[in-house]
Symmetry: C2
Subunit: 247 residues, 2 copies
């Protein structure tokens, strides 16, 4: 994916349609509705907040390009990354029904983001039951991913957590066509991966090396390659059902 300036609005919305279709089938009519959403596109540098905890917004944010995350900070300054969002995701869909952000939304890489007014989203959901269904499913799958992460952080070993994380990321990237199921970009530093998994940087590094030495994955220059998918899944107890993807 390249920088997005200059693309037609419709083109930007195609990622959204593609993403929704990974979980809900859409008719031509419904696709048209979505592609007609108004969008104001903005480019962010890496490590900027898109929306901060405590804010109240009147628009939803569509990831067009780049990697975005939701996170919270705790008193001692540590961070917990709550979720990762790839193109096609609307990480703050909830803002449609819950005024105040209880966490922040920020970029992990430079990113292109489109803002869609709440009113416009409400209109398309009112216009089509299936579209509102698709948004419901998106929001509920988001929650399902939180649950799976909770299990990982609460009850799985560091190694298992990392393996699970890699499986999930590749699977999600594959669903939207950004991975062949074996390899994809993973533009995160080790401290960031650590913050997502509730680990320390140093420990993450050491366990990552073990995965590499066990020939389960190859990680270099912001790119993962899964060498042994079955082995990695088993280690991470990864079962993609919680992602509720179609087919």
């Amino acid at each position: 994916m390249e920088l997005a300036r200059g693309m037609a609005t419709q083109e930007h919305l195609e990622g959204l349609v593609l993403k929704l279709e990974t979980v809900t089938p859409l008719s031509e009519e419904e696709r048209r509705l979505l592609l007609g959403l108004p969008l104001s596109v903005r480019r962010f540098e890496a490590y900027r907040d898109i929306v901060s905890e405590g804010e109240r917004t009147k628009q939803c944010c569509l990831v067009i390009e780049g990697l975005v995350c939701r996170y919270k900070l705790v008193a001692n300054g540590e961070r917990q990354i709550l979720s990762l969002h790839i193109p096609g995701d609307i990480p703050d869909l909830h803002s449609l029904h819950i005024e105040e952000m209880d966490h922040s939304l920020g970029t992990l890489t430079a990113a292109t983001v489109g803002f869609i007014p709440h009113e416009a989203v409400r209109n398309v959901t009112r216009a089509s039951y299936r579209v509102s269904e698709a948004f419901w499913r998106e929001a509920l799958i988001d929650a399902a991913i939180f649950r799976e992460w909770m299990v990982g952080i609460g009850r799985r070993s560091a190694t298992s957590r990392i393996a699970h994380f890699l499986c999930e990321f590749v699977t999600k990237m594959k669903a939207i066509g950004l991975s062949d199921g074996v390899t994809c970009d993973l533009p995160m530093t080790q401290p960031e991966i650590a913050d997502a998994l509730g680990l320390s940087t140093v420990h993450t590094n050491k366990k990552l090396r073990e995965l590499r030495q066990a020939k389960l994955v190859r990680i270099r220059a912001n790119r993962v390659t899964v060498m042994d998918w079955d082995g990695l899944c088993e280690l991470g107890e990864f079962d993609p059902r919680y992602l509720h993807l179609r087919k």
Copy 2:
């Protein structure tokens, strides 16, 4: 709350209305709609599954009385409790839009549960935008609680996590009128609290004792009493905004 057999269906639904009103204001009309929902009531013993992972249901489950939880098991047999549900909650509202359960729903105490057909829920949401809004908010707050738990499990110390947990529980019980904000029933054993917080039983016991010795809480016979609310909140970094309660 007593055993519920023999009560009128409407009376059972009052808990739902009360709960929804803690997050969304409802008109008389909307209340009537909700009170008209068909309900088939069933009593469960403690430690029974209401719905199991992998199932597909055609109804939602309303907690009428008792304490219910959602949980997942991991390969080594350990359990992570994902959420607790008190009267008025619909812990599997998501089943309306996501076919397959990716976790189980079970009782922690004897409990009275009402089943509402999906079709009936869809009808009331179609009949009133505000009611559908209320359900959206319920589902999204559910996700907000997951996020807060993730932060706790991933980044807070055991003591802090326990303190946070107690604050949250009392706050939620107060919202539906089952606590005065200081004391309430907490019908969970220490192993169960441990499973909710991603801790071991022994460690939970020791940290709980510290909280008691620090005169922050009193815990005995399935009942908590908060002795020093400010102290407990500070220790647990508890800020109730994520619960998105009204007023």
